[in-house]
């Protein structure tokens, strides 16, 4: 589909995505509950930091960090890997492939369509953060807001494109959901979701800086909580978008080659 036609169809795709998210509101609520790990970690780490700071983090810093982590996780969620796996195995991907628009746009719209519902959870948490630990819980400058929003979009893109790449592997193997489990395990450890990446030893920290996980959660959280100056923030954003570009090439390559193997089973 041409870029112009895709852009014309996009508002309807997003509107349908929102309608579906509203229809699945109970499931959405359960998903939100399943992503409350940052709040549990917040309780744990603030207790640890009550005696003495852990690295650069005192109790208040941990509260700020993990409330931001909760917000970022809500706004960067994607589940296309499971959808693609299911649709490849059931053959229902066929119905999407018959349409003159890449199914990847539909998956993206369905994932983004859930965001407005999540704002009902995110906004009160952000207000609570500001009221309890002050305005440092949100960007303090105009460029800070711009960088934060760009990093949030970059984080979502990385998460979504990884989902697409791993989901697409189901066209090459029988199922790739276990690979997604492996990715998620690494994500929990290396992304800053369970603890700030600052707390890793320097050698590990260098490695993590070059892996994509930090740019899914850690970087947006750090930018939301004003952890970096302009120069450092820009450099980190550059790395994040390098990952976006790389994953775009990988996921589209896998997708286009994988479709030739699609067997459209079942009927």
């Amino acid at each position: 589909m041409s870029a112009r036609s895709t852009l014309r169809a996009l508002p309807t795709l997003l509107r349908i995505g929102v309608s579906e998210a509203v229809a699945y509101r109970a499931e959405m609520f359960v998903w939100v509950l399943s992503t409350t790990m940052p709040l549990i970690m917040m309780a744990l780490w603030t207790a640890v930091a009550r005696e003495a700071p852990v690295g650069p983090y005192g109790s208040q810093d941990f509260v700020r960090y993990f409330l931001a982590a909760f917000v970022v996780r809500q706004l960067t969620g994607a589940w296309a890997a499971w959808m693609i796996n299911y649709e490849v195995r059931q053959g229902t991907l066929a119905m999407r492939l018959l349409r003159p628009i890449s199914p990847l746009w539909s998956y993206a719209a369905e994932n983004i369509g859930a965001m407005p519902m999540r704002l009902f959870v995110v906004v009160p948490v952000a207000i609570f953060a500001v009221s309890t630990v002050g305005w440092k819980s949100v960007p303090e400058t105009a460029w800070g807001w711009v960088f934060f929003l760009v990093s949030l979009f970059g984080a979502w893109l990385i998460t979504f494109l990884v989902n697409v790449a791993i989901g697409t592997l189901s066209l090459y193997m029988e199922s790739s959901t276990k690979l997604m489990d492996v990715w998620l395990a690494l994500f929990f450890v290396c992304s800053g979701y369970l603890y700030p990446v600052d707390l890793f030893p320097p050698v590990w920290r260098t490695l993590i800086d070059w892996l994509p996980f930090r740019y899914q959660i850690g970087l947006p959280v750090e930018l939301m909580t004003n952890a970096h100056g302009f120069g450092d923030a820009l450099a980190l954003l550059g790395r994040q978008w390098l990952w976006v570009g790389l994953l775009l090439v990988i996921s589209l390559g896998l997708w286009n080659r994988g479709l030739k193997r699609f067997a459209a089973f079942g009927g």
Partner: protein
Amino acid sequence: MISVRDLRKHYQVHKRPPGLKAALRSVIHRTYTSVKAVDGISFEIKPGERVGFLGPNGAGKTTTLKVLSGLLHPSSGEVRVDGHVPRHREDAFLKKIMLVMGQKQQLLWDLPPAETFELNRAIYDVPRAQYKQTLDELVTLLELEELIGKPARQLSLGERMKCELAAALIHRPKVLFLDEPTIGLDVSMQATMRTFIKSYNERNGATLILTSHYMDDVAALCPRVIVIDKGLLSYDGGLDALVQRVRPEKRVVLRLNQAVAADSLAPLGKVVTHDNVTAVLQVPQDAVNATVSRALSSLPVQDLTVENAPLEEVMSELFAESKARREKVGA
């Protein structure tokens, strides 16, 4: 409109015997066999034709439709649909075709069909005025008014299928591939669908390929049939000619005023069925006139019709013939 030359589609299928030992062995070493779903078929279809694509389960019908609609890449051969190579899946091609599968749905499950229609309008870039006109027509012809506002999951199978068909036609496709569109529907709903499909073909000049195990669908919609079996083409021609070839005999159906003995029917032809006041006789085509005259003069006939053998029987005989031929070649 549709041109298929020596089309082949072979799959590699992993095979293993049942049991834990075989399952564990398959972790290390897998055996694959090649399945020839379609094995060198060729045919041409003209614009506006309605063609029945018939064959037993596993014959390769759906695989062929999926290749024609660009979902599957052929192993070899040449396929063109209105000048397009389907596997390239160009937008212009996808906007001209639609594949309706009775066992798959495109309706958004938790939303009303109206949302799917609107989504298709946006995706197929249908101008608003044309969309409104098409939708009004579809709603009237398929009697959808009460249905399009209910979530798809709350519709009955027949209601859902009517909405599926409407969703498939929002962009007015020139080529319609219908894969068992009436499966699971009751008799009256099947008739509604058939009438609608035929009128869509006639009003829009759309080309139509239909697969169905319901021979009533085929008889009502398809003057021409293509029969494939085990991936090979076994017949391509008129439906009547196929019946003539496989079952040249006619059926004389008699309704009688009073019961007659089987002995009095036997001289007229082969008795297919007989109860007290109805009898079905099978007679060679050139003996139909003589049989009818003799029946009228010798029996208390209230009503008499001459029919072809039921299409189900014709197809069943055709498939049995080709199976026997394959076994003979194999032996």
